[in-house]
């Protein structure tokens, strides 16, 4: 398993744990309303920890490993773009979580602009993955 795939898969499992812990927190807040801290941001945070942090990240990692080689010289096309994808996805997701909680809480302008930063990073991550992997989706 190549190093980048290991990074992806290990990270995805950490996010899975974070997702389920958040799920427990959400359920506990429903059972004991008002007793546990939280906000309206918890629910979207939960869904995105799951869909981006666990599902998409695991897919990116396994695809990086398993898809047909690009060329013998560059089997996974661009290792640099691959690493950048990982950094963009995770920085974007973590920034999103922090900023979304900030916007739901204090709502200060700074949090809102951080959310914009998260938007850009996540979009670039998706584009980078597709650009780097498209050429490996072939009949070879």
């Amino acid at each position: 398993m190549p190093p980048l795939t290991r990074w992806y898969v290990r990270s995805s499992f950490l996010y899975l744990v974070a997702t389920l812990v958040t799920g427990v927190w959400l359920a506990a807040r429903a059972v004991w309303p008002g007793s546990l801290p939280g906000s309206s941001a918890l629910s979207p945070i939960y869904f995105h920890l799951f869909m981006i942090g666990w599902v998409t990240q695991l897919i990116f990692g396994i695809a990086n490993w398993m898809f047909p080689v690009y060329t013998r010289e560059a089997p996974r096309r661009s290792e640099r773009l691959g690493s950048a994808t990982y950094a963009l996805l995770n920085t974007g997701l973590l920034l999103r979580i922090v900023a979304e909680a900030g916007v739901a809480g204090a709502g200060a302008t700074g949090w809102r602009w951080l959310l914009g930063g998260a938007v850009l990073l996540l979009l670039l991550a998706a584009l980078a993955f597709v650009v780097n992997t498209w050429g490996r989706v072939t009949g070879k």
């Binding site: 959310l115 996540l122 979009l123 584009l127």
Partner: protein, 135 residues
Amino acid sequence: MPTLSIWFVRTAFSYLVLGFTFGALMLANKGVPFAATLWRLRPAHIELLTIGWVVQLALGVAYWILPRFWEGPARGNTTGAYLAYGLLNGGIWLVALSTWLGLSPGLQLAGRLAEAGAALSFAWHIWPRIVGREG
């Protein structure tokens, strides 16, 4: 990778980018509100990423990777798999567009029925390929 898997996977990649774009627009609007109508994209965002990206990629990889037959066509009767591709994507667009544009709920129902049909179709194709080493 067989041709149908290439179709499934490349289509899934397209939905990934489109779904992330819809999400990006909504999240940007959450940070700095500029167009309240963007929230209408939420059901389409969910549909494109859950069914269009995740399910479609899984079907494409399953069609490619699951055991093949020793005799006859390697992947057996592929009609169900091709039908699944058409039904799944038709269904995704019916659901996404009908929710985004606020069209008749009947169209969303039709989309869901098409997606269910896709699942049955693909299962019909793939079932005989779900075997162990002993066959």
